[in-house]
């Protein structure tokens, strides 16, 4: 399994853990919103893992075209 796949799985796992904790707190009458927001914010990060920070989708595409 590649490093990026491992990172994406880990991020998804942590996001789901937070969402599960948030749901448990909410169902028991406690404030689960902070954990829910954190879990929700982590999910899209799984997609971002492994992407270069200063490379947008458009420029990445261009880069591939040049390579080709």
């Amino acid at each position: 399994m590649s490093l990026i796949t491992r990172q994406r799985l880990f991020i998804c796992l942590v996001a789901l853990l937070n969402l599960a904790l948030a749901a448990t707190l909410y169902l028991n009458g406690h404030a689960g919103a902070p954990l829910g927001v954190i879990g929700g914010a982590l999910l899209p990060l799984a997609w971002l893992a492994g992407r270069r920070p200063d490379t947008t989708a458009v420029s990445a595409g261009e880069g591939d075209a040049h390579a080709a």
Binding site: L3, R6, Q7, F10, I11, V14, A15, L17, N18, L21, L25, N28, G29, H30, A31, A33, P34, L35, I38, L42, L45, A46, L48, A49, G50, P53, D54
Partner: protein, 315 residues
């Protein structure tokens, strides 16, 4: 939903930082507040130690030291195998997560006080004890067993860092000053919450600065910065429960496990592992883990402690 007033100061700092508001917060004031909080926590703990000193605290302390040494060993493989970080950076970040954040501890104490939850007042002793083992384990992970505290400069940075000296000094003054401590109580105890609120305002501003550093390894470190406090907080809760601590004590041990250092360890790592990227550690501990603990972690650890102890969990 009600948030603690002290925590809301942190939120204000975060909002001001995100909106790029130029809040004139002098560096000297931030340093003075840090000094004040470290001394106040030490004094409070010292006074409690003088009152409750017993052999029970000694074996509790030994187990707490073992807990602090174990945390980097949990963080290191995660950082290496999933984060793909090199040995030096993984060890440096692991050391940060094995050590503690005094500010997080202070917020937890404020939350417990506001909720009327009692805790073992000698906890500042554990704060001091948890500062050091993770640094040594981090060094061993990075350099092997021979490293230890071999360098004199490193030993000085680790054992005599300003944070440790102030807290240990406060502990000793609190323990040996007896009744005369009451003379400084109005300053150090009554003003504690206000000073902490101001300190957290600045911390909110600093947190937003650190977040921008999370670019290269950002997604993984963000997840790691959320996962480690949940893991270490859970283990801290179990240890506190096993040690027979009160609900407040279990919460505080969870908070100490969950928090990551951003004062003592960075100073030691600058000397010990100068090749480590300090920005990565600081961004994770200060940019992710500190706000996570303040906004979501502490209430969660309190609920977990109440659940473990079988006491009423009030919504």
């Amino acid at each position: 939903m009600q948030l603690d007033a002290v925590v809301l100061f942190f939120v204000l700092g975060l909002v001001a930082g995100v909106l790029k508001v130029r809040l004139p917060f002098p560096t000297g004031l931030y340093q003075s507040l840090t000094l004040f909080l470290l001394l106040a926590i030490g004094l409070k703990g010292g006074a409690a130690l003088a009152e409750h000193a017993s052999s029970r605290i000694i074996w509790q302390s030994l187990l707490v030291i073992g807990f602090g040494a174990a945390l980097p060993l949990l963080a290191f493989p995660l950082l290496r195998q999933i984060g793909g970080l090199d040995k030096i950076n993984a060890a440096a970040i692991a050391a940060h997560y094995g050590s503690v954040s005094v500010a997080t501890y202070a917020v937890a104490v404020a939350v417990l006080d506001a909720a009327g939850v009692t805790y073992e007042a000698y906890f500042p002793l554990f704060v001091v004890l948890l500062e050091i083992p993770a640094i040594i384990v981090g060094l061993v992970l990075a350099r092997g067993l021979s490293a230890g505290l071999a360098s004199r400069e490193l030993a000085h940075e680790t054992l005599l860092s300003p944070g440790i000296v102030l807290m240990v000094g406060g502990l000793l003054i609190g323990a040996f000053s007896g009744g005369s401590l009451i003379k400084i109580t109005p300053f150090f105890m009554d003003l504690f919450q206000g000073a902490l609120a101001l300190f957290l305002l600045k911390m909110g501003l600093i947190t937003t600065e650190q977040l921008s550093a999370l670019k290269q390894d950002g997604p993984f470190l963000a997840a790691f910065g959320v996962f480690m406090p949940l893991l270490a907080g859970g283990l801290g809760s179990l240890l506190g429960h096993g040690l027979g601590l009160s609900v407040g004590g279990v919460t505080l041990l969870a908070v100490l496990g969950a928090s990551a250092s951003y004062i003592a360890v960075p100073a030691a790592m600058r000397v010990a592992l100068p090749q480590a990227n300090a920005t990565l550690s600081m961004a994770a501990s200060l940019g992710i883990t500190f706000p996570f603990n303040v906004l979501a972690g502490i209430p969660l650890y309190l609920l977990l402690a109440q659940w473990l102890q079988g006491s009423a969990v009030s919504p």
